[in-house]
């Protein structure tokens, strides 16, 4: 039975939804077990880092990595699993493009800690502030050091494939698992290295059943302010900023089908370098006004431009980080929160 190829899955800076999405493939998960030897998957089984270190380099066939690289532990594990794996997949939006954790790149570390530990929403009567090392009587305790900004997996190690989605859709995961099994059985070939897999070539609009017309937008509105949303008509044409036109297809237009705008979790389409910039030019293109003041007023209908255009993509965009974050130093963590 040792002939079964080895499988690993690891999470770094992420919410855990990607792991759930894998489990959510239901009986498909049995195929994983049938075809692979799961050697490392902290969420599902007990394993130690040193077990991985002991493995031979390249001995794991497939590693699904989810989460961004936020601290030195994430980075160390990325390098380790890269060494041990033949195929490393950036799995889910955090690994591919930074996703929600990447939005922290707008703030310097000390501000992040300040907010997390010392603002009204946190109960912290002893005013505890985490430190990377603490001399306890039993010996020195350490915590990983936070990096100044969150990086995507590919910004840290070489990545073979990218699988977008927050989280990737279960049917897409199932299809990718099937493909790898077929490759192992010699029935299929792997796509070229660097490919984005488990998704379509086009954008969400391609899978969206709503009717579209030539667009002329005179006001952007938040979805709760459009009542009722026309169920047949393009969401964007109703003034709700829908990211569908710029977002890679593959989710079967879940959100627009359910009566909500696409928020862009499948990331940019092929050939798009900066998702947010693309979307900004696209929205700007359909604003139906000529006078600067009028244009300004329409654009004011988008209250949170970063959230609108870079919610999933900031860490992988050309911007990558806010200035303060880019300049903050790792040791800022220790002084954070204290004058």
């Amino acid at each position: 039975m040792t002939a079964k190829p080895k499988f690993a899955m690891y999470w770094a800076a992420s919410c855990g939804g990607c792991e759930i999405a894998v489990l959510n493939t239901h009986e498909k998960i049995l195929d994983v077990d049938a075809n692979f030897e799961v050697v490392f998957w902290p969420v599902a089984m007990d394993a130690k880092y040193k077990d991985v270190e002991a493995m031979e380099d390249g001995s794991i066939l497939l590693t699904l990595w989810n989460g961004g690289i936020r601290n030195n532990e994430n980075a160390e594990m990325a390098h380790l699993l890269r060494r041990k794996s033949q195929i490393l997949v950036a799995f889910g939006s955090c690994a591919c493009e930074g996703c929600i954790p990447g939005l922290a790149n707008l703030s310097p570390l000390n501000e992040i800690f300040e907010t997390a530990y010392h603002t009204v929403s946190t109960e912290n009567p002893q005013n505890i502030h985490p430190q990377v090392s603490y001399p306890a009587p039993e010996g020195t305790l350490t915590l990983p050091t936070m990096n100044p900004v969150l990086k995507t997996l590919a910004q840290v190690v070489d990545v073979d494939y990218f699988m977008p989605g927050c989280p990737p859709e279960s049917h897409q995961i199932a299809a990718v698992i099937d493909l790898v099994i077929q490759v192992v059985q010699g029935k299929a070939e792997l796509p070229p290295k660097g490919s984005v897999i488990g998704c379509g070539d086009s954008t969400v609009c391609d899978e969206c059943p709503r009717t579209r017309n030539v667009k002329a937008i005179t006001a952007f509105k938040r979805i709760q302010d459009v009542a009722p949303l026309d169920p047949e008509l393009c969401v964007l044409e109703q003034g709700v900023p829908c990211n569908g036109p710029a977002t890679r297809s593959g989710c079967n237009a879940r959100c627009p089908r359910a009566g909500a705008q696409c928020i862009g979790c499948y990331g940019p389409a092929d050939d798009v370098i900066d998702y947010g910039a693309r979307l900004i030019t696209a929205f700007a293109s359909v604003v139906d006004a000529r006078e600067p003041a009028e244009i300004e007023a329409i654009l004011d209908g988008i209250p949170d431009p970063t959230g609108q255009f870079y919610r999933f993509n900031l860490a992988d965009s050309l911007l990558r980080a806010g200035k303060g974050a880019a300049m903050s130093r790792p040791n800022a963590i220790t002084s954070g929160g204290k004058p």
Binding site: D201, S202, V204, G244
Partner: protein, 663 residues
Amino acid sequence: MIENHKPKIGVYVCHCGSNIAGTVNVDDVRKWAQEKLGPEGVVIARDYKFMCSSLGQELIEKDIKELGLERVVVAACSPHLHEKTFRTAAEKAGLNPYLTELVSIREQVSWVHTDKAIATEKAKSLVSGTVQRIAYNTPLEKQKVPINANTLVVGGGIAGIQAALEIANAGFHVYLVEREPSIGGHMAQFDKTFPTLDCSACILTPRMVEAGTHPNITLMTWSEVTNVSGFVGNFDVRILKKARYVNEDVCTGCGICTEKCPKKVIDTHYEAGLGYRKVVYTPFAQAVPRFPVIDRPNCTFFQKGTCKACEKFCPTNAIDFKQEDEFINITVGNIILATGYDLFDAGRVTNYGYGRLPNVFSSIEFERLSNSAGPTGGEITLRDGKTKPETVGIIHCVGSRDKNFNNYCSSICCMQSLKFAHIVRERTGADVYEFYIDMRTPMKAYDEFYQRVLDEGTLFVRGKVAEVTNAARYPHEKGKLIIHVEDTLVGKQRRIPVDMVILSNGMEPRHDAKQTGQTFGISCSSDGWYIERHPKLDPVSTMTEGIYIAGCATGPKDIPASVAQGAAAAARVLDKILQKEVEMEPIRASVIEENCSGCRICNSMCPFNAIAFIGDLKVSRVNPALCQGCGTCVAACPAGAITGTGFSNEQIFAQIDGLLMTV
């Protein structure tokens, strides 16, 4: 670039005499390109004194043949100037013209830098960018499309009339669109024209009549162009024909309606506010066409629902109160804009008192005052319409050559002021003072006219007038206008009392020039005049193919120059028409249909209406015959599904990589 094949590239660095070599170390750039860009495919790098000379071009041709060059990079002047030269040279040697690129190290480097070391580094980095980029260039073929032989001329001043007549006489159809009820423009308001003093109407009217009756001219007055789409050879134009409330098919132009109309209003346009006109009117007796228009906002019938005097008396039942604005669509191959100028508002120079002191007149008011068909029948009087002035002061450069208003010289004001002086002296015998900063009389017979006015006894004071006031300080100033000026020849302040002041206010771009420019896709300079393709070598063309400019729309000028430009623009149009086809640059956008989601964002973007949505396939498609390669849609497509030939992502990123390569 074909996978793994680095094309052989030749780099040619031009000295442009000392134009480039004076600021860029050309030899260093050449050596560097040869050594450092070798791995990027550069097999030969040369420098030469004048690459554009036939010897320079032969260098390229020879290398293509002997070394098998597949790409050519010429570091010289702007592509506007010589891109065609080098592409043609390469083509002669068998290389597709689009595999040759020009790097501007003159306009973008030597002319804008002084530090030789930095300029040389910048030149290298620009060359490097283009070398990296050109590897991804692909051979392209030019397309030919037929030219529509009809022409649109916008603006029926003397420049537009001239252009229209030239083209019509050559046998081609012209649509002449004028926004006023009659053609003629500013010239129709003048009495005499400098320097010959021939009567303006006498020389203008025959031209107007000819334009109005020419079988090849469709005259559309009281009309404006609202929309233009398409491109050279095939423009679709939408024209708003405002309701005249007079049926042009039956109106004979007898003028009875005007005679019978009971209501008079001040004519602020043609009579510059000095006279009245009826509510149903033709702006002047010789108007072309002769059909009147009803001034709707002032018409009693439209205000109160009664009157209809004109309708009652019209012998041919031509009055039609139900007429409505109409849109007319036409297709033309070329367009000439001859929209002229607006007069500078003399009231803006508040210290000269125009609008506050009654006997301060503007230039156009004086033109009307001196016009034998004008409000006083050509009598020169003060604002009361009776009193003859005994002394008159004429102030030059009002609003022109003035940092507070316009920096430019209006070019005609010195001559118009001299004309005014002559007319005043001739008709009233009054003493005339001219206040000038510099006297500018360079054109044919202009200085002779100045001598003549000098001889006639006009007094000239050199200095910029500080103020015109009616506040008398001395008894002899009582009841007069006092012109306060520093006489720079005498070197002292003077106060000169006069009865009448004429301000020689100059020209300004049309108040709506920018908007009109946008409609036609051309731009204005910082002063607001339309920009010519080249100020010296191509003064009537614009950066938009097929759109020409003539007359004062391009800047202040006199009648002879306006006429010459009208004719020049017509010659350019005829040249295009006679070629029957235009060659279109093969720079085109195309949609990669697999990647297009049919979101339709791009659909309204194309200024040339080249994008169509294919409903069955749910994709958008670019019509290559209509696309002009502007790239708007390429930027708009959120899916990155549109690419532009010549500007693919690979090309752009390779160029950026090249630019950033450390030199």
